[in-house]
């Protein structure tokens, strides 16, 4: 009945799944912060819909990762009892929710990336992962379309909205690099046919992302030299605060059944 943190194994397969699963979970958690505070009621609906989809994807991935990890953990132990260093999402997902411009732009960046990734994962050698991807592809396509519409509206709308979009882009851009980082975990995943090396998605992502930016009257920035390290468990100062909130009940009520 101790709420000691748990650790997952070092298997590249598990790590690969957690990088993706944690991405979905952490972004869902950020989007949840809008609950009841969106600029229009339709967006309260749309944002909670997106959070729900991401949460569903995260649950499937964490459950699958826990099974492969073979220590008898479940999705909740992975979500609520891993400490920050064991979370493997890119830092982009954990950045504070920001204003609606930042939310929309991040949702667009992430859903574009996820859609590319899910499409490749539909052909995964891991049947379970392929099944998760098959469902997620449709969801991500909708998220991407919805976010792109907003990028257009806000980029094109008023002077203020366009300025906010440029500021959001400045904040977000340096963290996009990490979506296309590549290491031994990617290499193993690619070799096994588990999934693509993330780096292989970069050109297509950039083309799609920048095309919508251009339509919205925004310039595609030059590559940033900064490389965040969330995929290796080295996060920003924001994740710790998020986990303190998210994990509190599980930590404070050891042995609870919910």
């Amino acid at each position: 009945m101790s709420q000691q943190s748990i650790q997952v194994g070092e298997s590249p397969q598990v790590q690969y799944l957690l990088r993706l699963g944690d991405s979905c979970l952490v972004l869902a958690q950020r989007i949840c912060e809008w609950s009841g505070h969106a600029p229009i009621l339709e967006e309260d609906l749309a944002l909670s819909n997106m959070a729900l989809d991401l949460l569903g994807q995260a649950r499937a991935l964490l459950t699958h990762a826990a099974r492969l990890d073979g220590q008898g953990h479940d999705e909740d132990q992975l979500a609520f009892l891993r400490d920050e260093r064991q979370y493997l999402n890119p830092v982009l997902m954990e950045l504070p929710r920001g204003d609606f411009a930042f939310t929309v732009l991040r949702n667009f960046a992430v859903s574009t990336w996820l859609l590319l990734l899910w499409r490749r994962l539909e052909g995964s050698s891991d049947a379970e992962l392929a099944a998760i991807a098959g469902k997620a592809v449709k969801e991500a396509a909708y998220h991407q379309q919805h976010a792109a519409d907003w990028v257009l509206r806000l980029g094109d709308g008023t002077e203020e909205s366009s300025a906010r979009m440029r500021a959001a882009l400045g904040t977000l851009w340096p963290y996009c690099n990490e979506l296309f980082d590549s290491d031994a975990v990617d290499a193993a995943a690619a070799a096994q046919g588990l999934g693509p090396d993330w780096a292989s998605l970069k050109d297509e992502w950039r083309a799609q992302f920048c095309e919508v930016l251009a339509d919205a009257g925004l310039d595609c920035p030059k590559d940033s030299a900064y490389q965040s390290q969330g995929r290796r468990g080295i996060h920003s100062e924001h994740l710790g605060h998020m986990l303190a909130t998210m994990q509190y009940l599980q930590r404070a009520y050891p042995g609870g059944v919910w």
């Binding site: 009621l41 609906l45 949460l55």
Partner: protein
């Protein structure tokens, strides 16, 4: 006066009124007030639950809570649409909310202080809301009745989910969890009873609303029905309802229950509840913070329209 007599006859015959039909101004105003108040309650009601989304104890519970809040946003949308058929725009209704002219259900001025509050809101608050709302599915104004059918169906689902989550904690949980559930019930029981409104003798709007088929059962009747339905559920849960006077009255075939603190009721209705200021403040802030977004969407739509005309 002839039209009014015909209208009253249709109502008396149990006919439904559609937006294009003639209706008395007072009927229209009463409905707009009631439907918009209901819509406001849905969106203000997202706040106490939203307070726990980021802290839900399992991913499954987080998903259930998110979905519930999403449903409430959906209810808000149908209800605003139903009210719009009566000629008042959503922006007008929101303005009335934000300036304090329109009300929302007082229950949402109470805080959610522990996780079990989420289950108890599902069980007691949604339960009371359903009692209030089921009769409205037969309301004389058709768009409202149609909206309510959908709302009631989803709320019954929420109520069952809330109750089920409490059952899990009470049956399988730790002592600390059981204490949490009891604490939540202690805080929500009386406010839930107040949701049915003042006693019939103090409820001036009831009579005409009932005649018009906008309201079909009285406050006290509904409250009694709610108590009678809830007591056995509490027993199954194994929690104590915080009312020493609550007991079965074999003669009435109903439960007697203690005196409601109506001074608290009126205090909260009149703005001095625990969170009146904060709830309204949160809605106003969301609205004001979002002004630039709505402006931008409008500006973009205008530019698009101009481009299309030019093409």
């Amino acid at each position: 006066a002839q039209r009014e007599a015909a209208f009253e006859a249709r109502i008396a015959a149990g006919d439904f009124i559609e937006p294009k039909d003639w209706m008395p101004e007072h009927y229209r105003k009463t409905l707009v007030r009631q439907i918009s108040q209901h819509a406001h309650s849905e969106i203000v009601g997202m706040l106490p639950e939203g307070n726990w989304v980021t802290r839900a104890p399992t991913l499954k519970r987080k998903a259930i809570l998110l979905a519930k809040i999403q449903d409430e946003a959906g209810h808000g949308l149908y209800l605003y649409s139903a009210a719009e058929t009566l000629g008042t725009s959503r922006d007008q209704m929101l303005d009335a909310l934000h300036t304090g002219k329109a009300k929302y259900s007082s229950i949402f001025n109470y805080p959610t202080l522990n996780w079990a509050d989420i289950g108890v809101i599902g069980w007691l608050v949604d339960g009371a809301a359903i009692m209030n709302q089921v009769p409205l599915c037969r309301c004389s104004y058709a768009p409202y009745a149609r909206a309510m059918i959908r709302v009631c169906r989803e709320e019954s689902f929420h109520q069952r989910q809330g109750y089920e989550s409490l059952l899990v904690m009470m049956r399988e949980g730790t002592a600390a969890q059981k204490a949490m559930v009891q604490d939540a019930v202690n805080r929500w029981w009386w406010p839930a009873l107040m949701m049915f409104g003042p006693e019939d003798k103090d409820s001036p709007n009831s009579e005409q609303s009932i005649r018009w088929g906008i309201k079909r059962v009285t406050n006290d009747q509904l409250r009694q029905k709610f108590v009678d339905a809830t007591v056995p559920q509490a027993e199954i849960l194994g929690i104590t309802l915080p009312d020493p006077d609550l007991k079965w009255n074999a003669e009435r075939e109903a439960h007697d229950f203690g005196k409601i603190d109506w001074s608290e009721f009126w205090r909260v209705v009149n703005g001095e509840g625990p969170l009146n200021r904060e709830r309204l403040g949160a809605r106003v802030k969301a609205w004001e913070d979002g002004a630039w977004v709505r402006d931008a969407a409008l500006a973009h739509a205008r530019k698009q329209a101009t481009k299309e005309q030019a093409a």
